[in-house]
Amino acid sequence: MVPHNSNTTSREMALVILAMIPGLFALGWIFGPGVWIHSAIAVPTAIVAEAAILLARGRNPMGELNDLSAILTALLLAVSLPPLLPWWMVLLGTGFAIILAKQLYGGLGQNPFNPAMIGYVILLVSFPKEMTSWLSASGMGGETISWGAATQAIFGGAPVALDSLSGATPLGGLKTTLAEGLTLQESLEKIPSGLLAGPGWEWVNFAFLFGGTILLLTRTISWHIPVSVLAGLSLMALIFNTIDPASYATPLYHLLSGGIMLGAFFIATDPVTASTTPMGRIWFGLGIGVLDYIIRTWGGYPDAVAFSVLLMNMFAPLIDHFTQPTIYGAQKGEKA
């Protein structure tokens, strides 16, 4: 029996969860404690849902829950949701993510699609209004959302007073104003903006970038997917920004907007649903980056990490098939 190194699935999952802390903190600081309340709802929901299905499948729930993957899925979903989403939607999304997208396929390692993103997309297509209403950044000059207000909004139905605070995300706003025929410069002046991108969003993205860097340094993830996601998005942004700077935002704006860093480092890198070959991971990441840009710019949704990831999940087996590395000693011209 070959000795194993100290790495375990649980350890990898734990590292990813730890690396999410900066992002969780930034989101809470900027958009109020909603994200923390959502996490507190999603994590127990995920554990209960996973345990229930494992019991129904005749498995020992304790033996599999401690791989921590359900908790990670719950957290990934929680940080993707608008901060004042009603509690039952969080419950619904998490339940779908764990039961439908993960356990019904056979549990950890068997699901073709990223569970957190399935949960997110089910909520997005079912409740489009709620799912696209974000708070303006409070930590960055906007009004602070108190714990009380956030709790009330999440558990008691959104009170009217908060409506003034919520609105489209900067990316969504930018798309609307650009569609109205304004130039990029005029749009950026009209919608609230921060230092480099939408207010607060650059800090959220920096925070996830920081967490992602930790994952890279601890070799929990390889560089291929995050780098190629960001490269795909930047490349598209660069091309269109060069062609028509008046209508298309710069690569930097795109890189620091929406959930791209979260997507590149934490979601696209879910090993279960991503490509596994070195070249395949690069194509997979590029695909996500390019699709994200396309949907952001011309699609019906303000951000598109979830859709791009799910679309590329579908292609992962195909990509793997065509990117098998050439093995040691393979003859030239011979199929590897």
């Binding site: 190194n5 390692g109 040691y328």
Partner: protein, 535 residues
Amino acid sequence: MSRALHTFHGGIHPSEEKGQTRDLAITRFKNREEVVVPLNQGIRAVNRPIVEVGDRVSRGDRLSECFNPLSVPVHAPCNGIVTAIEERPFTHPSGMQSLAIVLQASGCEPHDTPALPIAPLLEGLSNEEIITKIRTAGVIGLGGAGFPTAPKLRSGGQQIETLILNGMECEPRITCDDRLMREQPEQIILGVEVLNHLLQPKEILIGIEDNKPEAIEAMRRATANANAPIEVVTCPTLYPSGGEKQLIQILSGKEVPSGGLPYQLGILCQNVATAHAIYRAVQDRPLTHRVITISGTAVTAPGNYEVAIGTPIRQLLTDCGAAAGELVVTVGGPMMGFPLKDLDSPVTKIVNSLIVELAPTSPSTPVRNCIRCASCSDACPVRLLPQQLFWATQSRNYEDANSLNLFDCIECGCCSHVCPSHIPLVDYYRHAKAVLRNQQQEKVKAEQARKRHEFRDARILREKEEKARKLAAKRAALKAKEAQKKEAGATAGEESPDKDDKRAAIAAAIARTKAKKAKLQQEITPQSTEAGQQQ
């Protein structure tokens, strides 16, 4: 002098754990009781005993003869009497039995191997004679795979440009090559000189991992006054750098063609211990002893022991102070070794290490689902896709596994080592390989059976035809005779009588059949009515 080294893909840094034995000098193990020399040594060793029960043999006597070019004979490691030739447990993962020659041992001290110049030993010998000497001395690769040395030296008749000596010893825990290089470097170099004499390569490289500085130093010193262009190359420690293909890649940057052999690149690779055995072979000292490392927490006297081939492992463990209680003995290193099924199995030529541990009392960490993290493919030195191989073998889709280059897997265990889900990946591949090999054998057997059957059919047909031909010839002869008769009769003006006879016979036969049919009809009718009544 430093060389530009190349790297291979992946590789791992497992915990080396060589400290337990690396500073323990080689000591001779004293045999008592019996020695069990299995006739099955290494690969395809089809051996036939040439001694009988009751024979008295002296150390170094040949015990068997072999006819397959890939097999080598075995020799008596000590003086003694043949007490049995029978099936005994064999040192194999399956725990199978093998025919073995059992000796009652007396006096098992191996010969010393003084370092003497080889020129007088090789004088007047042709290359073929030297290779035959090496073969009849029973020399096979001592690094672990056990490929016979003589056919390797013939190299398909190709010119060898680079001779590589493998002193990497990259597996954790094993230190026997390290010790041999430190203690008997001159003898190893003399073996290299024999190889140099045979192959006349342009360069000779001795690869040693940088975690063995003493061995590097000793080999450098021994090389200084050698009669051959030898260079000792220090390589970075990275498992599995000691794999033949990986070492060739490190030193030459070239890759052995998939399914091919190193000589196709003009390269030949030999283990340092094999070089030592070659030197002994040209002195007409057969391979009867080897150095093995015994380590683990369940022995009080770990170390490097020069052991007679055929020593039952149980004897060794007793002398090394193995703990009482249930033991788990791993044959080979922790990465590529296998658990020993029966402690009565003997040390064979390819056993380089025994790891003795107490059987674990707590269950090992659970195997979880594969999460496709690709740590395995990042670690694979062959650039395979271990997790895809795993999915294929797990679902018994062996053909798919085959097209994922299953047979290029060197079973180094890197993938299993890095798997966060603790899946014993290599075990799956070994199983799949065995299944595919079996299928291949079945196919060959079926093909042979089909050919035999076709041959039989053809033979029966041929015989039938021959019979028919003979019969026809006979008939023709008869007819000719009759025609002669007829001719004679025709002259008499008579009608042929047998024609009428034939007609009468046919009429009679028709009448008989009609009667039979009528009778049958009668029988059927009452039966069917009976059946109808019963219903």
